[in-house]
Assembly symmetry: C2
C-alpha cells in the first residue's frame, strides 16, 4: 500500500488517481459542512464547481426538497439558502433534503477526485472513520487537500495527517508514504493535543476569524466527532 | 515584508513573482552544484531547460572555455562533460569556465524564477548567506522549491526553512509568512541539529542513495559551508 498527499488540487492529475482510493479534505469548511449535512440526515449532497451550474441543477429537483448552499470568498452566494457554515446545516434544516453546494476550493477538488476508484470526503470530524475505511479498502491512497486560494493550507495538511495516523494504526504491513504524507503525519502527531493552538495563526483561520467564524473553526476542528463517511459517486455524495 | 514558499515550481505563476526577491532551491542537487561551481571559480553558469538548447548554446562559445553539465533522472547526459554531482565541479575542472547546465527540475525552476525583481540560488550550503541577502534587500520574498518529479520534496522544504530562519534573525519588524513558509521554518528548526537523520528516509534521498550518491547528499546538506550567493540575470548565473 502507498499513501500520497497533494497539498493543492491543482497539483493532481487524473493519472495520479487511477485505481486509487481518494479522500478529499477541505476542512475549512466545505468537507466539514458536507460531513455535517449528512450526519444531520440530509439525503444527498451534489457538489458543483460553478454557481450557474448549481442553479441549473436545482431546476430539475422538486422545489420543496432542495437547498442551495455555498460561498465565494467565505461569503454566502446571493439567492442561496445556506452559506458554507456547517452550523447552518442542522437537522431541522437539512433532514431529507438534497443540498446542491458550490465552494471556492472544495467542490472543485471533489469533482477532480471523482477520477479515482472510489472517493471519500474527509475532515477532522471524521478523521478516524475515513482513515479506517481507507485502511479496510487496502488500495493505494491519495489524499487531496483542497488548499486555500490555490495554495498550501496547514489546516488541510494536519487533517490529512490525522487520517494517515489512524490508517497506520490499523495496517501492520510496511506502507510507502510520500514526502508530503510524512510531513502531514509528523505535524499532526506533534500538534494533535492542541490543534487550535497549532492552527489559529494560519492564513485561512485568520481570514475566517476576521469574518466572525471562530465558532465554525472550532466545530470543524472537533476531532472524531462522528463516524459518518461521505462517499462520492456519479456526481452525488451520500452517507456510506 | 512578506515571505511565501511554493513547494513545486508548477504551482507558481509569473504574477506571484512580480517585484519580489526570488530564491530558487533544488538542494539535491542542481542549486548545490551551481553554488559549488561558482565557489570554485567557474566564470558563469547558464541554466537551460532542455538538452538540445544546452548543446545549441555551446556552439556560440569558444570550445576551450565551456563545460556541458546536467542530468536526466539523476544520470549524466550522453556526450556531456559533467553530471549533476557537485563533487565533479572542483576548482581544477571549472575555474574560469562557463558551465551550461540542464537538470530535470532545478534549471526549469530557475528560468521561471527569472520573472521576479531579482533571483538568487539557494541551498543548505549558502542558506545563511542567501537569507542575509534577502533580508538586506527587504522586498517581499518568494522561495521556489523545485520539488522532485513535480512533487513536494522535504529536502527543499527544510532548506527553505533554513533560509527563512536566518532572514528572521536579521529583520526585527513583523513579517507575514504564508502557511508553507511557517511549516518550512518549523520543520527546519525542529530538525536543524540532525538534518541527515530528518532527511535520509525521504524520497529523493533514497533514490540518490540507491544510485550511490550518499557522499553527494552529505555534501549538499553541509549547512553554511560558503558565503557564495549566485545571482541569476538575463539567462546567466554569476557570483554576486
Amino acid at each position: 500500500m502507498k499513501i500520497e498527499v497533494y497539498g493543492t488540487q491543482n497539483s493532481v492529475t487524473e493519472k495520479d488517481l487511477k485505481d486509487k482510493t481518494v479522500i478529499v479534505v477541505d476542512v475549512l469548511r466545505a468537507t466539514s459542512t458536507i460531513i455535517t449535512a449528512l450526519e444531520n440526515g440530509c439525503k444527498e449532497v451534489i457538489p458543483v464547481a460553478e454557481i450557474d451550474e448549481a442553479v441549473s441543477i436545482t431546476r430539475t429537483i422538486d422545489n420543496d426538497t432542495f437547498l442551495l448552499g455555498g460561498e465565494r470568498n467565505a461569503v454566502k452566494i446571493e439567492g442561496f439558502h445556506l452559506s458554507n457554515s456547517p452550523l447552518e446545516y442542522s437537522q431541522e434544516v437539512v433532514k431529507g433534503r438534497t443540498v446542491v453546494i458550490t465552494t471556492t476550493n472544495g467542490t472543485r477538488a471533489i469533482k477532480k477526485a471523482g477520477n479515482g476508484a472510489r472517493t471519500y470526503i474527509g475532515g477532522f470530524r471524521n478523521a478516524s472513520a475515513v482513515g479506517a475505511k481507507a485502511a479496510e479498502e487496502g488500495d493505494d491512497l491519495v489524499i487531496i487537500c483542497a488548499g486555500t486560494g490555490g495554495k498550501f493550507s496547514t489546516d488541510d495538511i494536519l487533517t490529512a495527517g490525522a487520517i494517515i495516523s489512524k490508517l497506520l494504526e490499523l495496517r501492520t504491513e510496511a506502507i510507502q508514504i510520500d514526502d508530503l504524507g510524512q510531513v502531514c503525519k509528523f505535524l499532526y502527531e506533534y500538534h494533535k493535543d492542541d490543534l487550535w493552538e497549532a492552527l489559529k495563526d494560519t492564513h485561512h483561520c485568520k481570514v475566517l476569524m476576521q469574518n466572525g467564524f471562530e465558532e465554525d473553526i472550532r466545530f470543524c476542528f472537533s476531532l472524531d466527532a462522528t463516524d459518518v463517511v461521505p462517499f462520492y459517486r456519479d456526481g452525488v455524495i451520500r452517507k456510506l
